[in-house]
C-alpha cells in the first residue's frame, strides 16, 4: 500500500471539482489592493470572503506599529517563550487584552487554532468529559482529541439538549467542560448563551466560549457575545483569534481566574510553539486600541451586514437564520456551488465556497463575510452580482 493510497477517494472527489481555474480549493489572490479589493488572475474583485470584519488590515496605525516593531525588534522571535523567553511586547499585549476583557489572566498563542489546542487540549484530559455544540469548529474537535477527553456532542444551539445530555452524565456533569462558539462561522448564527449559562448554573460544569468570529464584532465594547448577552461572569474561559477583527494572526485565552496561568507550564502547544513575531504583536496591540476607541467600526459593520442580508434575501436566496457579518447563501449541489462561486468571480465578487462535510446539514453554501471597510456601493455591487446569477439557481427562498 502506498503512502497516500488512503486519500484516493478524497483525491478523486477533489479533482472532479478542480478543473476550473481558479479553483475554489486553491484560490490565489494575486494582488491585494486594500482590505476590500483585490485581483484574482485578470479579474478585479471585491473581497467579501476574508473575515476582515473591521477592515483593519490596512489600518495606518497598525501598519506603522508593525513597521516600528520590525525595525527595533526584528522579524521573528525564533523560539518559544518557555525556552527562549518572552518579549516585553508579548506581556504587554496580554496585559492590554486582560484590561480590555476585564479578566485577570490572558495567554497569547501564535494562532487561534493553537490557542484552542493549547487550552482545551490541556484542560480536557482523559478523565474529563467535554460537551460541545455539534457545529463547533474543527480546531475544538481536534483539541478535545488531543487531550483525550470523552467527547459528547449536543444538538447545535439547543440548550435543552445540552441539559438532557448533562443529566445523563450524573455527577460527572459537575466537572464537565461545555464548549460553544460566539458567532458560528458557517451560518452566522450565535449561541444561546443565556440559556446555556442557566443550564450550567443548575447542573455545574465549566463554560468555554470561542469568540473567534464575535470578538470585536459583538457587545457594547466589542468583547463578544458573552458581553452582549451579559453573561461574562459565567464564562470560565474566552478563546479568541487575532486573525479576524484584529487583522493579523494569533490567538488568545482569557481566564475568569488567574488560576489559568498554570497552563503556561502544562500546555504543550504553548510551550513548544515559537512565539508570535514582534510585528504581529505590535499590529494587534494597535488594532485592539482601535477597537476600543472606534465603536463606529462595529456600527458600520452591522449596517453593512444588514444591507447585504436584506438585499440577498429580497432576491429570494436561501440564507442563514439571522443578520450577521457572516452571510451564507445556500446554492444547491456541490457542482452548482462550484459553478456559482466561479461565476461570482467573473462578476467581480470573491466569496468563500464551503462544501459538506464542512457545512452543517450537508448543504453547499457560498459564505460572504462583511467588513466595516466595505462601502455601501460595494455592498450594492455584491448584491447586483448575486442578482445577475439568481436565474441560474433553481432555488426557493
Amino acid at each position: 500500500m502506498g503512502l497516500y493510497d488512503k486519500f484516493s477517494r478524497l483525491a478523486a472527489e477533489r479533482s472532479s471539482l478542480q478543473s476550473l481555474d481558479p479553483s475554489p480549493f486553491g484560490t490565489r489572490i494575486d494582488v491585494v489592493y486594500s482590505s476590500t479589493r483585490g485581483r484574482i488572475g485578470g479579474t478585479d474583485v471585491i473581497l467579501a470572503g476574508t473575515n476582515n470584519y473591521l477592515g483593519l488590515t490596512f489600518d495606518e496605525d497598525a501598519i506603522e506599529a508593525a513597521r516600528h516593531a520590525l525595525t527595533v525588534e526584528g522579524t521573528g522571535t525564533t523560539g518559544s517563550r518557555m525556552a527562549n523567553g518572552s518579549y516585553g511586547s508579548h506581556s504587554a499585549l496580554e496585559s492590554e487584552l486582560a484590561t480590555f476583557l476585564n479578566r485577570p489572566s490572558v495567554m497569547v498563542f501564535s494562532t487561534g487554532y493553537v490557542a484552542n489546542l493549547g487550552i482545551i487540549g490541556t484542560l480536557a484530559g482523559p478523565r474529563e468529559v467535554v460537551l460541545l455544540d455539534a457545529d463547533c469548529h474543527a480546531s475544538i474537535y481536534d483539541a478535545c482529541t488531543l487531550g483525550g477527553a470523552e467527547i459528547i456532542r449536543f444538538h447545535h444551539n439547543d440548550a435543552k439538549d445540552l441539559e438532557r445530555r448533562m443529566l445523563r452524565l450524573g455527577d460527572r456533569a459537575k466537572d464537565a467542560l461545555i464548549i460553544v462558539e460566539g458567532i458560528y462561522s458557517m451560518l452566522g448564527d450565535v449561541a444561546p448563551l443565556k440559556e446555556i449559562v442557566d443550564v450550567k448554573r443548575r447542573l455545574g460544569g465549566f463554560l468555554l466560549v470561542d469568540e473567534a468570529h464575535s470578538f470585536g464584532v459583538m457587545g457594547a465594547n466589542g468583547r463578544g457575545l458573552a458581553e452582549e448577552q451579559d453573561v461574562e461572569d459565567d464564562v470560565d474561559i474566552i478563546l479568541g483569534t487575532f486573525s479576524k477583527s484584529l487583522a493579523a494572526i494569533g490567538g488568545f485565552a482569557a481566564g475568569r481566574s488567574s488560576e489559568m496561568e498554570v497552563l503556561r507550564y502544562a500546555s504543550r502547544p504553548y510551550i513548544f510553539t515559537a512565539s508570535p513575531s514582534p510585528s504581529v504583536v505590535a499590529s494587534v496591540r494597535s488594532a485592539l486600541k482601535t477597537i476600543a476607541a472606534r465603536p463606529q467600526l462595529r456600527e458600520k459593520l452591522w449596517s453593512n451586514a444588514q444591507r447585504l442580508y436584506d438585499g440577498l434575501a429580497a432576491l429570494g436566496y436561501s440564507m442563514g437564520p439571522r443578520v450577521s457579518p457572516v452571510v451564507p447563501v445556500m446554492v444547491g449541489s456541490k457542482e452548482q456551488g462550484v459553478k456559482f462561486w466561479r461565476a461570482l468571480i467573473d462578476q467581480g465578487v470573491y466569496v468563500n465556497l464551503v462544501l459538506p462535510p464542512a457545512t452543517p446539514s450537508g448543504v453547499t453554501l457560498v459564505r460572504c463575510s462583511v467588513s466595516a471597510a466595505h462601502t455601501s456601493v460595494q455592498i450594492d455591487q455584491i448584491i447586483e452580482a448575486f442578482a445577475a446569477l439568481r436565474p441560474s439557481l433553481k432555488l426557493t427562498a
Binding site: 477517494r9 468529559v129 445523563r168 459538506p356
Partner: protein, 86 residues
C-alpha cells in the same frame, strides 16, 4: 437488553433512514467507502443511538470504526468498560 445483535440491528435501521438507496447496507458494509458516510454523519448517527438508549456515548468510540458491526462492538465495549457486563 443491550446485546451487540440488538444494537447492530438498530444501527442498520438508522443507516437505511439516513442514506437514500442504502437498503442493501449490511453488517460489514464499509460506512465510509461503500456508503459514503462522512465523519459528521457518523457522529450524528451516534447521537441518535445515545437518544435511542438514553445513554452517554462519546464520539471517541468511533475511532477505527468502519462497519456497522464494528460500531456495535465498539459501543458494547465502551458500556462494559464503564458499567461492567451489559
Amino acid at each position: 437488553m443491550f446485546t451487540q445483535d440488538v444494537i447492530l440491528e438498530n444501527v442498520l435501521v438508522c443507516l437505511r433512514d439516513m442514506i437514500p438507496g442504502a437498503e442493501t447496507v449490511g453488517p460489514d458494509s464499509d460506512m465510509v467507502d461503500d456508503l459514503g458516510l462522512e465523519s459528521v454523519k457518523m457522529m450524528d448517527l451516534l447521537m441518535k443511538l445515545e437518544d435511542d438508549y438514553d445513554l452517554s456515548i462519546p464520539i471517541n468510540i468511533l475511532m477505527d470504526v468502519r462497519t456497522p458491526r464494528q460500531l456495535a462492538a465498539s459501543l458494547i465495549g465502551y458500556l462494559e468498560k464503564r458499567n461492567g457486563p451489559v
